[in-house]
């Protein structure tokens, strides 16, 4: 129903990000989205990939610190005001967003990834409002 996002601990040092992406490339991981939350010393790299569980196992076996978490993916058509519409659904229900990012969706428009505490509830709310929720299978 939802998307399994992988979060990876990466030190804030030259070459560390390239090392991670090279590792993923060498193992033929197909990345759909990539985002970084950074602090002064380290970053949390968040990725969405084709095979999340295989990728997490691969990362852990190679001493990367990472975790997997469920996020909601909602389709945002390429029309002014669409993103606002989606977020209004959460606002009306009094739900707070931990973080969100977008990336181009297959076909038209964008996919907004939202991290919230209650993933199922939010997916249901979006559907109820006539928005298209994208699951891991049909990324």
């Amino acid at each position: 129903m939802n998307i399994n996002q992988i979060s990876i601990f990466v030190e804030n040092k030259p070459g560390k990000l390239a090392k991670l992406t090279k590792f993923l490339a060498d193992n033929q991981v197909d990345m759909r989205a990539f985002e970084i939350a950074d602090t002064s010393d380290y970053g949390i790299v968040r990725i969405i990939v084709d095979k999340p569980y295989d990728t997490v196992t691969l990362l852990k076996d190679n001493d990367w610190i990472c975790s997997i978490s469920e996020v909601v993916g909602v389709k945002i058509p390429d029309v002014a005001g669409e993103m606002s519409k989606a977020l209004a659904v959460l606002d009306n229900a009094g739900i707070s967003v931990d973080y969100a990012y977008t990336f181009p969706a297959s076909g038209d428009g964008a996919l907004m990834v939202i991290k919230v505490a209650e993933v199922e509830k939010v997916a249901g709310l979006f559907k109820g409002a006539g928005l298209k929720v994208v699951s891991q299978e049909n990324l």
């Binding site: 996002q5 601990f9 990466v10 030190e11 602090t39 610190i65 990472c66 931990d98």
Partner: protein
């Protein structure tokens, strides 16, 4: 039932022990005054003659000996016997200055090995055991000392020396090692490797005798848990003989000094006056039983306290608390004394690995301290604020232990170099 190597002497009465020490002290002072010009000069300068030493308490009249003396006297000037009477030397690594050597007669080696054999028995060892000695062999005392002790107990001895982890683990599995002897940091590394390879079910080790570097009670619990063993501390130094000067018993409540060979003192860090039992100070040894290279009031630079109370195990020899640091390891940061062992204790209490690096610097004339700690899967979270909260907890725990602020920096796993010998924990970039 406690397991002794030499029950009679290990459980002798305090009167008997003090008699041995009294006679030994008088004898050694006379020997060095007559045979060692370096000692005679030091004693003459201090205005003390052998006949001034009548009681054990007269030891305070004698001058201290330091590592500088040993360096000055290198190579032969502190010998109490001619080289022809000696059968071996050992030496320090010399990384902190000129090398220091120790000479041994066959009797000296025998007594040293007895000390190591006592340590192995105190850790539950019998002739049925297989002892893997993963301390370095050669000039370093660790390997030969435990090797000799293991022979005396009659154990099958695997003289592995340090390093080559693959081979260590293979021998450990193939020959059913039951007692492992190495540095605590290498034991922690081996435990990690064993768990990584998933070979724990093939490991028969029940006890470890770990020494040659300071380690904390928390690190002991970590190793004991990860390897499923009992971990015993052992103490020694090349200048005195090597490992086996003091060792832990099953009570794991301080290390018994071989008091029939060595006379310990604890002195105040500033005044160098003797302090009572239980009070922290610098450990000082007089190796009165040594024939070739006896040291009188040698300042070890190791910080600990002592107790003469009889132990639960039945041994009567005085115990020193696990080392709390070294006078030369101690860092003064923002005017506060900081021992690396304190940082280790905090980290392990916080559920972090004891593998850390302390980086000290001076910015705008003020000291800064940064502790690099490896991120663990348990601590990691997808949320920056969760990680920041954990970081804050560690900073607060360090502050409460040390009294000063230390920045905590989380680094990737295995990015802090693992040691196969002594761990390098401190990088002091201050230009003073």
């Amino acid at each position: 039932m406690a397991n002794y190597f030499q029950e009679e002497i290990e459980t002798a009465s305090r009167e008997q022990i003090e008699k041995i020490q009294h006679d030994g002290l008088l004898d050694v002072v006379k020997r060095v005054y007559e045979n060692v010009p370096y000692y005679r000069k030091k004693m003459d300068e201090a205005g003390v003659k052998p006949e001034d030493i009548k009681e054990l308490s007269d030891i305070t009249k004698l001058p201290f000996l330091t590592k500088d003396d040993l360096r000055d006297a290198y190579p032969y000037d502190l010998m109490a016997l001619p080289v022809s009477e000696c059968v071996r030397i050992h030496s320090t690594s010399g990384t902190t200055g000129r090398r220091v050597v120790d000479f041994y007669t066959q009797n000296d080696i025998d007594k040293w090995e007895d000390g190591c054999a006592r340590a192995i028995c105190a850790a539950g060892g019998t002739k049925e055991d297989v002892v893997q000695v993963s301390y370095g062999y050669g000039l370093f005392t660790g390997g030969s000392g435990l090797n000799g002790g293991s022979h005396k107990v009659g154990c099958l001895t695997l003289p592995m020396s340090s390093g080559n982890t693959d081979r260590q683990l293979q021998f450990m599995c193939d020959f059913g090692t039951t007692i492992l002897c190495c540095t605590p940091s290498y034991a922690a590394y081996l435990a990690e490797s064993i768990n990584e390879r998933g070979i724990k079910d093939q490991i028969k080790v029940k006890a470890g005798i770990f020494g040659a570097e300071a380690w904390s009670e928390e690190m002991r619990h970590d190793i004991e848990k990860n390897l499923g063993i009992k971990a015993y501390d052992i103490y020694g130094l090349t200048e005195i003989e090597g490992p086996g000067v003091a060792f832990e018993c099953e009570a794991q409540d301080g290390m018994h000094i071989c008091e029939d060979y060595f006379l310990p003192e604890i002195v105040d860090l500033d005044t160098l006056e003797p302090v009572p039992d239980g009070q922290i100070g610098e450990l000082v040894f007089t190796s009165f039983a040594k024939e070739a290279f006896p040291l009188i009031r040698y300042r070890t630079k190791d910080i600990t306290y002592i107790t003469h109370e009889k132990c639960k195990c039945g041994r009567t020899h005085a115990r020193i608390h696990r080392l709390m640091g070294r006078t030369d390891d101690m860092l003064i940061i923002k005017g506060v004394n900081v021992y690396p062992s304190q940082i280790e204790e905090v980290l392990i209490k916080q559920g972090m690995p004891a593998n850390y690096q302390l980086i000290v610097d001076r910015v705008n004339n003020s000291d800064t301290m940064e502790v690099n700690v490896e991120m663990t899967p348990e601590m990691f979270s997808d949320s920056v604020s969760d990680i920041a909260a954990k970081e804050k907890e560690i900073v607060a725990a360090l502050k409460s232990m040390l009294g000063i602020y230390a920045k905590v920096k989380l680094v990737e796993p295995k990015s802090i170099t693992r040691s196969e010998g002594k761990a390098v924990r401190i990088i002091d970039n201050r230009k003073i």
